[in-house]
């Protein structure tokens, strides 16, 4: 079966090549991926089965149409026959498709039931939260979480004129912080959202579940082999829906354990960061990194997209005015425009850094250095 399908696909590809042709084309994938998990393999087999059923029925029906078109044409002297119903045929072509469908539904239902069986025996649980336009991965039993944004290497070349600039960087399919999973272990995902509906999808795992505000959806996977797997947000979630990729890195059990302890250490340092006094330079350096999460609306140079309702921060009233109003805007969000979300979920030090950055970058030069303690005070 698989062979026949690939011959068919190669033929279509050859025909397609007559229209456009670049060196990339040879690499273009045309069929669903079989993926890397037992479930994704089953899904691929179901897909191939139903596709072949369609191809065979199609060949039969279209074959009949083409025969009529060539043999029963008036120009060849065909005289119309007189029949216009036939009980036997009509019963047959109702019952046979019905039986084929039942044959299809049984394996489909089996796979579905396996996929939807809750993963109560999972060894790792990760809460995935969709944000406009990034993901948060919370390793619930390890006590750390982090955001995963579109990689800067991609964001920087979205508007590049030369396509060469987009090569070799997994354009739009790379992130700053990858989700990391242990190979061969059952992992449970809990999906939810902080704003609009997103959908977390990795084709190679055949996992796609919507992340919906107010809901917690569940999915699970077991990835046997280490590797890097890529996907994208699948549900329209606003302006940057096309720019919130998903990258999962599967590591061996030992490497995973090492990664976890490193992350825990970093979380501890960050927590310590909330209690110390930072120099302005430290704040600016960290702030520039955090600001990546604001740049999709306010732009990297602080100029915003005023036409779309995203204000400039460069010289803006709040970013150059009293610190209290600035803190309030970023921690609690805008009172009038939900697009400016409440960023209070960030750590005190991240908030202090990004606010300091906004007050001194883009020529704002207020000279202020906002400390984590100021943020803590403003939260009350």
């Amino acid at each position: 079966m698989g062979d026949g399908m690939s011959v068919l696909l190669r033929t279509v590809k050859a025909i397609s090549l007559m229209f456009v042709s670049t060196e990339l084309f040879a690499a273009a994938q045309m069929d669903l991926t079989p993926g890397v998990t037992a479930i994704s393999q089953e899904v691929y087999e179901l897909h191939t089965l139903i596709l072949w059923i369609c191809v065979i029925i199609g060949a039969g029906v279209f074959g009949m149409i083409f025969i009529s078109m060539f043999k029963h044409r008036k120009s060849k002297g065909a005289v119309a026959a007189n029949f216009h119903d036939n009980m036997t045929v009509e019963v047959l072509w109702t019952v046979i498709p019905f039986l084929i469908l039942i044959g299809m539904a049984i394996p489909a239902a089996k796979t579905l039931i396996r996929m939807e069986t809750p993963a109560d025996d999972a060894e790792v649980t990760i809460k995935i939260t969709g944000y406009q336009w990034k993901w948060n991965y919370d390793y619930m039993h390890e006590g750390f979480d982090f955001f995963s944004n579109l990689a800067k290497s991609s964001r920087d070349v979205i508007y590049a004129e030369n396509n060469k600039d987009r090569e070799g960087i997994n354009y739009l399919l790379d992130v700053d912080n990858r989700m990391v999973l242990p190979a061969g272990k059952k992992v449970r995902f809990l999906m939810t959202s902080n704003d609009v509906i997103h959908s977390w999808w990795i084709p190679a795992f055949a996992v796609k579940k919507d992340a919906i505000p107010g809901y917690i959806n569940e999915a699970w996977t077991i990835v046997p082999e280490p590797g890097v797997y890529r996907g994208q947000c699948a549900e329209l979630c606003g302006k940057d829906h096309g720019f919130m990729p998903i990258v999962v890195e599967v590591k061996s059990a030992e490497d995973y354990a090492a990664w976890v302890s490193e992350k825990k250490g970093a979380a501890m340092t960050a927590a310590a960061g909330d209690n110390k006094v930072w120099t302005k330079d430290e704040l600016m350096a960290k702030g520039e990194q955090v600001y990546a999460q604001c740049a999709s609306c306010h732009m990297a140079d602080g100029s915003g997209i005023p036409a779309a309702g995203f204000p400039a921060l460069k010289g803006s009233a709040i970013a150059t005015g009293p610190v209290a109003a600035h803190l309030d805007m970023v921690i609690n969000g805008s009172k009038v425009n939900p697009a400016m979300a409440a960023f209070g979920y960030m750590s005190d030090s991240d908030l202090a850094a990004v606010i300091t950055y906004e007050r001194n970058a883009f020529g704002n030069n207020t000279g202020d250095a906002v400390q984590p303690a100021d943020v803590k005070a403003a939260r009350q």
């Binding site: 279509v12 397609s16 229209f19 273009a28 045309m30 069929d31 899904v43 897909h47 139903i50 149409i65 009529s68 078109m69 029963h72 044409r73 120009s75 065909a78 005289v79 119309a80 026959a81 216009h84 119903d85 009509e90 072509w93 498709p97 019905f98 469908l101 299809m104 489909a108 579905l112 039931i113 979205i158 508007y159 590049a160 004129e161 396509n163 997994n170 354009y171 739009l172 509906i197 959908s199 084709p203 055949a206 919906i212 505000p213 107010g214 809901y215 959806n217 569940e218 699948a234 549900e235 329209l236 606003g238 302006k239 940057d240 829906h241 096309g242 720019f243 997209i305 779309a308 309702g309």
Partner: protein
């Protein structure tokens, strides 16, 4: 039948503004739909131009979202639906032997609401902030809490469209049930009339649901309710259930009249009676009934309980049975016929094959575990463009070529018709077929920019789109040319044509169809 004693047409602009004549109103519907086809199509060209290569070149992501949203809304509500109402207006009275529609003033109103509805919708493009940018499915909370200010105008426009559709369908139902010529029993009605009768019931059933969902949006946005707002105790998934309870029957609203048109055309050019008339009627009715219990197959990934997913999978698969019956019936009608290939027949045959391809991808998507992979990708985009463009739109083309001679009294230019057909056929497949591959390879829908491996098929699709879009100007030319003159059509128009409009009315059909009821054997 004498031709002129009842033909006192009003003249000037008043003829159109105050028209109560089913033919004039039908004409206005068809022209309106044609105009919207070019507006919605223009938006599609913008989308395909931006997607011609990776990176953002021509427009901004937010404007891209506005284009996909308005393109979808305009094509669904402004092109396909009004075109079918136009056909219904022109044809239902002629086909059942009635002088006009039953409720002519309401008919006038239901048409004249449309320019206001779409004027409102399109005006949002010029409003501050942004036009609706949340997709034609306008899922909450993207369209409620996060929707631009213009969303309220969109809601108003949708209400107007709904009122227009409901009035239109009441008119169709009343006309068909009360104004048939003596002897025209229900089971003698042309299939086109049958499909429209069923469509009209679907419309009456679901348009109020659409009105309900946008009203809930309106109060969520402006009056502090929380129907769809999780933080207020509401439920964003309920939005999708209500929307698709409207939306799935809506899909059949856009395809049943095409089945009707194709079922008229295939017998004519096969010179053979439609195979399985009564099974066609039953199949159409079962499709309509099933359409109410399959809605959640549009939302398999929202996290429904397993039982729900299984139920919707099985119910959806079931629809393949009556749909298959229709395709088999058309095939059997052509079998051992005496076929000729005028333009309407070419479009009708292309319809059968390409619509069936769209049906196949639909069947594939009904399988829940596999749909987790297809959902929200270009595979879906390919699927619904096969059923709506090479399906519904091709049926509209076929119907237009088929009845234009009856409507205008002139034959259209057959050579140009063939050119229109062949270029459309090739380009539409270059446009939509590669989208299957893009979807399977993992390209999500509604993204303004894509990873490099999707480049080639996107380029192909864009080239197909420009050709397909451009060639529709030829269709416009063909229609105008046919209206203005040409070889005179005979009363029967086509050798194999049957039905009251061909057998008992001259070409062009008189302003008032049947002042005296014709005899139906």
């Amino acid at each position: 039948m004498s031709e002129d004693h009842h033909d006192h047409k009003p003249t000037g602009i008043g003829r159109w503004l105050f028209s109560t004549n089913h033919k004039d109103i039908g004409t206005m519907y068809l022209w309106f739909s044609f105009l919207m086809l070019f507006i919605g199509g223009g938006m599609a060209m913008i989308i395909r131009a931006e997607l011609y290569q990776p990176g953002m070149q021509l427009i901004e992501p937010d404007f891209f979202n506005q284009m996909t949203t308005l393109h979808g809304l305009i094509m669904v509500f402004g092109v396909i639906m009004p075109a079918f109402v136009g056909f219904a207006n022109w044809l239902v009275p002629m086909m059942i032997g009635a002088p006009d529609m039953a409720l002519p003033r309401m008919n006038n109103m239901s048409f004249w609401i449309l320019p206001f509805a779409f004027g409102t919708l399109i005006s949002t493009l010029f409003m501050e902030g942004s036009a609706p940018n949340f997709g034609w499915t306008f899922y909450a909370p993207l369209s409620t809490t996060y929707g631009p200010a213009s969303t309220d105008y969109f809601i108003f426009g949708v209400h107007l469209m709904g009122i227009s559709s409901i009035m239109g369908s009441i008119n169709v139902i009343v006309t068909i049930l009360n104004m048939r010529a003596p002897g025209m029993t229900l089971m003698k009605m042309p299939i086109f009339v049958w499909t429209w009768l069923i469509t009209a019931f679907l419309l009456i059933a679901v348009m109020p649901v659409l009105a309900g969902v946008v009203t809930m949006m309106l109060t969520d946005r402006n009056f502090g309710t929380s129907f769809f707002e999780a933080s207020g105790g509401g439920d964003p998934v309920m939005f999708q259930h209500v929307f698709w309870f409207f939306g799935h029957p809506e899909v059949y609203i856009m395809i049943l009249p095409s089945f009707g048109i194709i079922s008229q055309i295939i017998p004519t050019f096969s010179r053979k009676k439609l195979f399985g008339y009564s099974s066609m009627v039953y199949a159409t009715s079962s499709i309509a009934i099933l359409s109410f219990i399959v809605w959640a197959h549009h939302m398999y990934t929202v996290g429904m309980p397993l039982a729900g997913e299984l139920f919707f999978m099985l119910a959806t698969m079931l629809i393949a049975v009556p749909t298959g019956v229709k395709v088999f019936n058309w095939t059997a009608t052509m079998w051992r016929g005496s076929l000729t290939f005028e333009t309407p027949m070419m479009f009708a045959i292309a319809f059968i094959i390409l619509f069936t391809i769209g049906g196949f991808s639909g069947l594939m998507m009904s399988i829940t575990p596999v749909d987790f992979q297809y959902h929200d990708t270009y595979f879906i985009v390919a699927h619904f463009h096969y059923v709506l463009v090479t399906g519904a739109l091709f049926a509209i083309f076929a119907g237009a070529y088929y009845w234009l001679p009856k409507w205008t009294g002139n034959m259209y230019d057959e050579t140009l018709g063939k050119i229109h057909f062949w270029i459309s056929l090739v380009s539409v497949n270059v446009l939509f077929f590669p989208m299957h591959f893009l979807g399977l390879a993992g390209m999500p829908r509604r993204i303004p920019d894509y990873a490099l491996q999707f480049t080639d098929f996107n380029q192909m699709a864009s080239i197909g789109a420009f050709v397909f879009g451009g060639i529709q100007l030829l269709f416009l030319y063909i229609v105008i040319k046919c209206i203005r003159g040409g070889e005179k059509a005979t009363d029967r128009v086509w050798e194999g044509a049957e039905g009251l409009e061909f057998e008992q009315l001259p070409s062009p059909a008189p302003f008032h169809s049947f002042t005296e009821a014709p005899e139906v054997k």
